[in-house]
Amino acid sequence: MADFNVNTREVGSVRVIELKGYLDAHTAPELENTFNSLINDANFKVVVNFNSLKYISSAGLGVFMAYVETMRENSGDIKFTNMNKDVYNIFDLLGFPMLYEFFEDEDLAIQKFNNSL
């Protein structure tokens, strides 16, 4: 079976989603569920930590596109951190850096959220 895992952590008012393994058309629904439950609980400040993510496909990228507007409409955001070069390359190829903030480290993204308070 596809090796993919989503884990959500609380850091103050920010929720950190940790992704592990392969995020593709097959595993995208899991991430979708995670975002749905975050929105249900009115958590709109999201940091996605890609540290252990090995691969992302366009269906995976689509999930971020699908939820970013809701987050921003509720004065939150989706910020990306700890991406390896290959994964970043895919984001970069498709022009994501123009629309999303990318950080070297999770803490920097969390700080950015806290500073904007």
Binding site: A28, S57, S58, G60, L61, G62, A66, L93, M98, L99
Partner: protein, 560 residues
Amino acid sequence: MLAKDNSTAIGNLSALVDFSNLINSSLDLEFALNNILLTCFGKFHTTKGLIALTDNSGYVSASASKGISKEVIDSFPKLNEDNLKNESVELNEFMSKNNLEIKRIIETSSGILGIIILGKRFTKQPYSDEDLDFLKTITNIGSTAIENSLAVDKLRKVNRDLDAKVNQLSSLFDLSKEFSGILSKERITKLLTYSIIGQLLVTKYAIIYCDDHNYDILESKFDEEKLTSLFQKNNCATISEPLFGDNLNNNYSGLTETGVEIVVPMLIKGKTKGLILVGRRRNLQPFTKSDIEFVSSVGGLAIISIENASLFEETLEKQRLEKDLEIARNIQRNLLPDKIPNLNYAEIAAYNQSARQVGGDYYDVIKLDDKRTVVAIADVSGKGVQAALLMANLQAFLRAISKQNIDISEASNLINDLVSENTMGGSFITFFWGILDEDKKSFKYVNAGHNPPLHISQGKMAKLKTGGMIFGVMETLIPYKSETVSLSSGDSIILFTDGITEAMDVTKTEYSDERLEELVLTKCKNSAQEIINSVVDDVKLHTKGANQSDDITSLVIKIK
């Protein structure tokens, strides 16, 4: 003088070696251009300069500059390579207006790369021949570095395009694997949209399925009402090629007004089965040919999966129906009597053949006591389990009521009330029943809308029609009438369902009442079993080669 010349020459030479080392150490274009300008600034003591390179379109544009304002750069004239080679009036005007004094074409053996333009010297002294020679040397060394960096830039771009293509292909591969495993239209649509919005960076989209007559907006982030009104006017199935830009605007201005930028049809064997509508890209970049190809490809994959999913659903539905029919057939079979009771005064033969699509024929022979026997035949409307259950109800009512010793017309009223209460959705039963009475040598019957049985006595035929309305339409308002016919030895009564008289041959001609009546008249001297065999054989002869569309049931009573 000579010594000074020498030291200048050596100074120049070592500066050139440094420059050459430095500029060739990097393949970064900006770095190379910057260093050419800075080296010139250092050598000539000037504070202004720009390098313009020819771009893909063949025109020259400013690629690096120092000490020159943006407004001035923007006013740089539009020049091509020929303008550079020949003295261009515009360029000279531009230079004199902005205090730029010298220019030199940057070229390699393969052609002109661009031009370097420098401002007046800080010392106000004009450029000497020596200076011009130095500039020539610098541009010669620099041109190779520029060419290399340009080539690397180009390679990087090619590489990036390739990466993008590889990424698209791997997305497609990923999806094709995934799509083939999903059999839900909703799930396929969801994945399709994720792939498109992820790949194209859009948030506005719609997925529409359609055929020649119908359309179904499965997902839409556009104004759905507007789309609906648009597609009511325009048949989506006529869009068989991707539409965008002017082509879209001219033909479907309503779509562009709602924010749609690309319309891509989803095709199966060249027929449009759906549309993907895509809105503006979030990073405002224009869509490329490759983007449209991507949408087209995922759309193609998705629509095939959707088609498969609906075929699968149809098959499931068919299997469910088959199962349903089989259950119904079993119920029906179990409702018919296993054995016809032997009577002293009459011989009874029965025949029932179910059509593949189960109908609702039913017959029964119930011995009330040694002298009296109930004979019944019915045709329950509808097919499948519903008809079978109604038939089971009827059997239960009939058997219960037969034991009650109620008059047959009163009993018919009761059965109709019970059936009416228990049916819904327009089910009904045509029903005929009668009681054979040995002592009275009679047959008392009620016909509730059933094909009239034929009573043949001494070569004469009568139809047993007395009764009332078919069962199950409404509760009994007008009581059922009964009739009693006397029986003598040798009489036959032939009961049958419309499956016999309406049995069709290959030309759709019905077997007909007349043919049945004629046949039984000639066979009335035979035994009950022989009569029924003749009827069945004749019907089979008639329907040879055609499908049996309805149940065939017949019951023959022969008075001993």
